[in-house]
Amino acid sequence: MVKEMLTGNYAAAWGARLSEVDYVPAFPITPQTEIIETLSQWINDGEMNAKFTNMDSEHSMITAAGTAAATGARVFSATSSQGLLYGYEMLYNVTGWRVPLVLVNVSRGLSAPITLEPDHNDILSTRDSGFIQIHAETCQEVLDTILMAYRIAEDERVLLPVLINMDGFYLSFTREPVEIPCKDAVSRFLPEYNPKHAFFKASKPMSQGVAVLGGSAYSYFKYQMHLASLNVLTVHDEVAGEFKRIFGRSYSATEAFKIDDAEYVIIMSNSFTIKGKAAVNKFREKGLKAGLLRLRLIRPFPSTELKAFLRGKKAVAVIDQNISPGSGGILFKDVTTALYHDPDRPERILSFIGGLGGKDIGHAEFKHIVEEMEKSIETGIVPETQLLYTKNDLEHINNLLNIAGNPLEGLEN
């Protein structure tokens, strides 16, 4: 075991290397490229015994990943944003084939307008594909989650692929100290993949992912995927328990931060969570009982766990780093659905959208969220979904709009 300064991308490459993957189909895209560059270098240098193929697109890449996994190979790949969307059609195929590969998504806001910094519309657009989704907060968690993901995906109770999300820039290009586990410990945790269900033998012909005509067959297989996904709620905790036993680090489906006596709870996901934790610490210094929940396992959605954490709280605010135009925040719906039937649910659940395209969520934003929660308790009025956008942001965009030229004469920006 060594501790090194690693970027999230490099940590992801280490996760794949330590998992002793057999095959890496790849296609580069900013901010993911460093992952596959690193893997191709290691494979070229003989430090990793795997086959690397640079494909012609993400569509081919995900197809290659799924088909290779169907033959019993352990497969790793990575993409981001537009790339994930370009391969979108095949995501639903590989989940339907029930193949246990691991795909890392490096979050980046979707075009248009084109950008490079993160939000979660890319990864959350795949939430109904059947992929298991785990969202990471730190570079260490990226590495650790890859090791755990193979255990989860390859479990006979699951056999679904896993998508692991890390934020572009905030994790992908950020270095921080990461513990690289030793090979022996990883071998104990993650044994070689010897699937009973998937094989490619001349003596044993089979067809996988066959066509079905008629809704009863289709419904049967689709619902099996749903049940397999729900099994992850149990499997994840078992795997996390064993991970803790071997490596000493503990991961739960939902991470609770200062939640026990909290009256006001902020719900976040991914790398910006650390900003929320800092805000909670600041509020606590001022005597406000604040806490935070980080949604880590997004699919399946850990409703029961969430309910238990939030029982009896005064107010909850969900910060969605995504936007469903015409509807609001995506995860807010999952949270409210989970809580609706609980008799002791929080009094108020507020919805905020922040951090789109990597926009900072600063102290002014968190202060506003807490004030809105307090106000809502006092007045009984729950506000509509709000965008976390500040006076400075508005000044900034107005400057840009002026440079871009205002086609409306006489209209002050």
Partner: protein
């Protein structure tokens, strides 16, 4: 600058600090301003991404000082130590730009050119910052330079030269200023505003202003200025043909003239001139 931030990061890591380092860049091209950050702390770091109120602000390219879009003094406060890579004295930079907080100057480009032979600034910039922290030893800097430059496959001789340049800079920077240890001020409080629906011509990402690329002068990207010796020029027009940015025009006397407002200093003309009558001058007064 990415490598510089990594050298500072690794040196801090070796000093057993909690550390984060990260670069931030948009469109990647030669001369594009870029920024990189390093955080070090004795406690776990409860922050991520850009640093909005730096304790140390290193400006490696002095031509960015007056560039409004680069805005290199953004977020500096009374406690910030600003270090500018320039041959000007600190007082001059302070007078011209009204810098808040402490200011230090050192011409690290000159040191890099003298010691390394190239204007590569990662080790020298990192050395300056390491010294200003007052918390990083020379030995950790040394190890960090070797580790980071080895990881990008630099040859041993070049790493040696970088190390020498870095240690020169480390020595040239005075001991750190006590202001650094004062607690950071509370962020200026911003407030949340409600966005209203805008006319679609405003509310869509479109640019209406025409021909504004011309307004962005690229002459300050230049590290070396090509100078044509018109006495010896044969008027062959080779430089005019090869200039990749169309910055060379032919005057009435049939002589090539360089548009210094926009010449990026790529030196294609310098290398292509068949009579070798184009020389290169190191730009030391870019502003």
């Amino acid at each position: 600058m990415k490598t510089a931030s990594r050298i500072v990061g690794t040196a801090s890591f070796l000093e057993e600090f909690f550390v984060q380092d990260c670069p931030l860049y948009g469109a990647e091209r030669r001369g594009a301003p870029m920024v990189a950050f390093t955080r070090l702390s004795k406690e776990p770091i409860f922050e991520r991404g850009i640093i909005t109120s730096p304790d140390i602000n290193m400006i490696a390219d002095e031509t960015l000082l007056g560039d409004k879009s680069a805005n290199v003094f953004q977020g500096t406060w009374e406690g910030t130590i600003t270090i500018v890579n320039t041959h000007y004295p600190a007082s001059h930079v302070r007078n011209v730009y009204g810098v808040v907080g402490e200011i230090v100057t050192l011409d690290i480009t000159e040191i890099a050119l003298n010691v390394i032979g190239e204007s590569v600034l990662s080790s020298t910039a990192a050395a300056v910052v390491c010294k200003l922290t007052g918390m990083i030893t020379e030995s950790s800097l040394e190890k960090a330079v070797i580790k980071e430059l080895s990881s990008i496959n630099l040859k041993k001789e070049l790493i040696e030269k970088n190390l020498q340049a870095a240690l020169t800079c480390f020595d040239r920077i005075p001991e750190t200023h006590p202001h650094y240890f004062e607690p950071i001020k509370e962020d200026k409080m911003d407030e949340i505003v409600k966005l209203e629906y805008a006319d679609p011509r405003i509310g869509t990402p479109s640019v209406y202003a025409k021909g504004n690329t011309r307004l962005k002068k690229t002459g300050n990207w230049r590290l070396f200025r090509p100078v044509i010796d018109h006495e010896k020029c044969s008027r062959c027009r080779t430089c005019f043909v090869y200039c990749p940015h169309s910055c060379i025009s032919i005057d009435e006397g049939d002589y090539p003239q360089i548009d210094y407002e926009n010449c990026k200093g790529c030196l294609t003309c310098f290398y292509e001139c068949p009579k070798k009558v184009i020389s290169k001058d190191h730009e030391v007064r870019a502003w």
